[in-house]
């Protein structure tokens, strides 16, 4: 199982993501932002950081990069993509995930473990049931997920909301922490699963989402 991690200029969590992929028993593959060739990877992680200095809007310039052309094709083929923090911002700006990430409503940088209540069973959350709570750290200034009330209701009805903050650290509407695309093969969240893979650092709950990514990559893709 080969998992690609896209390195953008200004990304800072790409190496942690590569390391986490190794710890999960898969082969990490570093992908370069200027190259649209994803080297045939089975799954992609768009990692955290400050791609292109967060210029214009967080994730906006990265969404226009050659690597993201490759990621769009990969996603369109039904293969799994996980966006973490800045990677979530890149995926919303790319139109691969609904909504948009805005400055935290209190305008403060937040770095802390957060509780994430499981909204529903999902291939992204293997072994977890509705009502379970994961503990995964956040570290962001622009993590306030926004969609208007009608859109949020649609996403909830379609089962695209997977996790909600408990409590809400950034003002995200509906306390939404993790959403998927309609097909369910693309997911994004501001918290950092790759920073929660070893008990020494306080939590291994990040492994749940990473295992979900690997499980989805192992499924046959519908024609």
């Amino acid at each position: 199982m080969r998992v690609g991690v896209v390195s953008f200029p200004g990304a800072c969590d790409d190496r942690d993501a590569l390391r986490a992929v190794s710890l999960m028993g898969a082969e990490p593959v570093r992908l370069w932002h200027a190259d649209a060739d994803l080297q045939g990877v089975d799954a992609v992680i768009v990692p955290g950081g400050f791609s292109y200095g967060d210029y214009l809007r967080p994730g906006a310039l990265a969404s226009l990069s050659p690597a993201m052309r490759g990621v769009r094709d990969h996603a369109a083929a039904g293969r799994p993509v996980l966006g973490i923090c800045n990677g979530f911002q890149v995926l919303t700006e790319s139109g691969l995930l609904p909504g948009v990430l805005r400055p935290n409503t209190h305008l403060k940088f937040r770095f802390q473990d957060v509780g994430l209540a499981v909204e529903r069973e999902s291939p992204w959350l293997p072994g977890r049931a509705a009502g379970d709570v994961l503990s995964i750290p956040v570290k962001h200034h622009d993590g306030c997920w926004f969609a208007d009330a009608d859109r949020l209701a649609e996403l909830e009805a379609a089962g695209q909301v997977l996790l909600r903050y408990r409590p809400n650290p950034n003002g995200s509407v509906g306390s939404v922490a993790c959403v998927t695309n309609e097909a369910g093969n693309v997911a994004g969240l501001m918290p950092h699963p790759e920073h929660a893979v070893e008990q020494l650092l306080g939590s291994t709950d990040g492994r749940v989402l990473l295992q979900g990514l690997l499980d989805l990559a192992g499924r046959p893709v519908a024609a």
């Binding site: 214009l56 809007r57 906006a60 226009l64 700006e93 909504g99 948009v100 805005r102 400055p103 935290n104 409503t105 209190h106 305008l107 926004f146 969609a147 208007d148 003002g171």
Partner: protein, 79 residues
């Protein structure tokens, strides 16, 4: 042709930056009831006439300079 694109938070969208600026202005004693913070982009566009400059800049504003979910834009071509 010189074109200016103004990008603003959409009406009804919470603008925490503008609100923080408003609070600081209130601290200085200024009677600013509301502040909305946006962005200005000055572009030099290769275009034969004002209409095509406006069309090109509008496309750039729609696709790149603004996120239509939260922002509106306005294109002004220098006369």
């Amino acid at each position: 042709m010189n074109v200016t694109v103004l990008v603003r938070p959409r009406e009804g969208i919470l603008d925490p930056q503008g609100e923080a600026i408003r609070r600081s202005l209130a601290g200085l004693g200024y009677p600013a009831a509301e502040v909305r913070a946006g962005k200005v982009f000055d572009l030099e566009v290769d275009a034969g006439d004002a209409d095509s400059a406006r069309r090109i800049a509008g496309e750039i504003a729609e696709k790149v300079l603004s996120n239509p979910l939260i922002e509106s834009y306005q294109v002004e071509v220098a006369g």
